[in-house]
């Protein structure tokens, strides 16, 4: 973890309420896709955790949905403004268990961290399938971005207005070697049930500190309660107690 003052380079809407923000600054604390940063936003007390979509030596990209006061304030910020951030938080996805043909499964605003993951898995020469689930056509984002990486991209919408109709579980490949999922808990549970292969699931939570000090966010595992912010946000399928 490192405290970094990032400079906003871009803050543009991708859909009616989903924004992409590019930040310039030190990314040395970010070591794996699926990690997050915790942003201090003017007028609010607690920091707001946002997953890292992608990063390089000069800066990083986040994609966030406006759901409350924090993200609303964030959407109003302009290029040039500074953002105090705790960078490189959480464990991130483990790429070593991907196998030959992993599938990446994202629901709504759970899609962004899969982009940085897909990019790195493609660089390793894996045959990556990306399954993206949204509510409706107007909420779809980054479909083409994943395609540009060379991934096989499948999209579903709940109302059928774009791609296959239904939940993301309807478009999963039959025999992936491993899965990486990020989305709402109902989506994660559905994926957990649908796929027999090994997998990693990224969780979302209201956090106090974001670095493991306050015990504000926990997840029950076979090894006891783990901190979502510090021991996660990515948990291995095998350690979750969801079988019951």
């Amino acid at each position: 973890m490192r405290q970094v003052i990032y400079t906003i380079v871009e803050n543009t809407p991708l859909t009616a309420n989903v924004y992409r923000m590019r930040l310039r600054g030190d990314t040395s604390a970010i070591v794996a896709p699926g990690q997050f940063i915790n942003l201090q936003i003017g007028g609010l007390y607690l920091r707001r955790p946002i997953s890292v979509c992608d990063w390089d030596g000069d800066g990083l990209t986040i994609i966030y949905k406006v759901v409350g006061k924090g993200t609303e304030a964030l959407s109003g910020m302009a290029p040039g403004e500074a953002l105090d951030s705790l960078s490189g938080l959480g464990n991130g996805y483990d790429l070593t268990c991907a196998g030959e043909s992993p599938v990446l499964i994202g629901g709504g605003v759970g899609v962004p961290p899969l982009y940085g993951l897909a990019k790195r898995l493609m660089r390793q020469g894996r045959a990556v399938t990306v399954c993206l689930g949204f509510n409706t056509a107007s909420e779809v984002f980054y479909e083409d971005a994943f395609r540009a990486l060379g991934c096989e991209v499948r999209v579903s919408t709940v109302d059928g207005s774009h791609g296959a109709k239904g939940f993301v579980t309807a478009i999963l490949p039959e025999h992936p070697t491993h899965y990486y999922a990020c989305g709402s808990e109902p989506m994660l549970r559905a994926v957990f049930k649908a796929l027999p292969c090994s997998g990693q699931l990224s969780f979302e939570a209201r956090m106090g500190c974001g670095f493991g000090a306050c015990m504000g966010c926990t997840c029950e595992t076979i090894a006891g309660y783990k901190r979502i912010c510090r021991d996660g946000p990515v948990m291995r399928k095998e350690e979750l107690i969801w079988n019951a």
């Binding site: 607690l46 920091r47 705790l86 209201r206 306050c214």
Partner: protein, 299 residues
């Protein structure tokens, strides 16, 4: 630095700044960020006799100039703290640590304190009597003077280290609770714990926190905490540790002017992990600005 030193119940602190229990874990996360030996000491995560999983999620909510939490005393239990956390702490922190203890019966408090009293690393026992309990008919130990006194006596009977009773602000007359603890033999007092609060999500029309209510902390509570420290310091003759919304060196001085011997810093550590380091670094300059030569001889 000599001028920052204070004496807390027979143990010299290099400065009066103490991260508060529940905001600093057992020290490990912060030791990765800075040398935690610059702290006066710190109060470790509230520890109970048995392991506790804590409350369901969400446990955290935003509040104006503060936050609500209802973690529910998640901790590995006193035996694992002694077997695993304290040895790990010994490698990163070389000062006496403050052991924060919680319980659900008088006997539990006493037994947990007795076990921690035997640990050489523990300098003080801070006894949290502001968690909702099941023993005293649903009333908090810290909201009834007789119960607060009973816990104090039971802990004092089985320990040799200084016992600091941590008081709840959710009472009508905090001075009465403070006097009851002092009369029962408490060596010191610390206050305030969080103020009971609540938020409701307009979209779901349900409480934001799964536990429904949570404890409010952060700058929002600072004036309330300061007032209570002032009242308690005048009601008893034992040392008082002030806490509640402290976020700056100025706040530390203000708490000490209200009567605090030392000052705990809580929620600030969560939003700025370097908060205590900055406060300690800022103290000499703030003391210069207000003509304070030393923190141990100025009242």
């Amino acid at each position: 630095m000599e001028r920052l030193k204070v004496n807390l119940l027979g143990i010299e602190l290099s400065n009066p700044v103490i991260p508060a229990s529940g905001t600093f874990g057992y020290g490990r996360e912060f030791a990765e960020l800075y040398d935690i030996n610059i702290l006066g000491t710190f109060s470790f995560k509230g520890t109970t006799l048995h392991p506790r999983l804590g409350n369901p999620l969400p446990r955290i909510a935003e509040a104006p100039a503060g936050m609500l939490n209802a973690v529910g005393l998640q901790n590995p239990g006193v035996d694992r703290v002694i077997a695993e956390e304290l040895p790990a702490l010994a490698r990163i922190f070389h000062k006496p640590v403050m052991a924060n203890v919680s319980g659900f019966s008088v006997d539990e408090y006493a037994e947990t304190c007795r076990r921690l009293d035997a640990c050489v690393q523990v300098g003080w026992l801070e006894v949290n009597i502001s968690c909702p309990n099941v023993h005293g008919g649903g009333m908090s130990f810290g909201t009834d003077p007789a119960m607060a006194a009973a816990v104090t006596r039971a802990v004092k009977a089985v320990t040799t280290k200084p016992v600091i009773m941590k008081l709840s602000p959710n009472v009508t007359d905090i001075a009465a609770i403070a006097r009851a603890c002092a009369d029962a033999g408490a060596d010191g007092l610390s206050l305030i714990n969080t103020l009971m609060g609540m938020r409701i999500d307009l979209r779901t029309r349900r409480p934001v926190i799964a536990n429904v209510t949570g404890g409010l902390s952060g700058p929002a509570v600072f004036p309330v905490a300061l007032r209570m420290v002032y009242q308690v310091a005048r009601a008893v003759d034992i040392p008082v540790i002030g806490m509640g919304g402290v976020a700056s060196a100025e706040d530390v001085i203000e708490m000490m002017l209200a009567g605090a011997t030392a000052v705990e810093v809580g929620a600030a550590n969560l939003v700025d992990p370097f908060a205590c380091k900055k406060i300690i670094e800022d103290l000499p300059g703030v003391m210069d600005r207000y003509g304070i030569e030393r923190l141990d001889k100025w009242r």
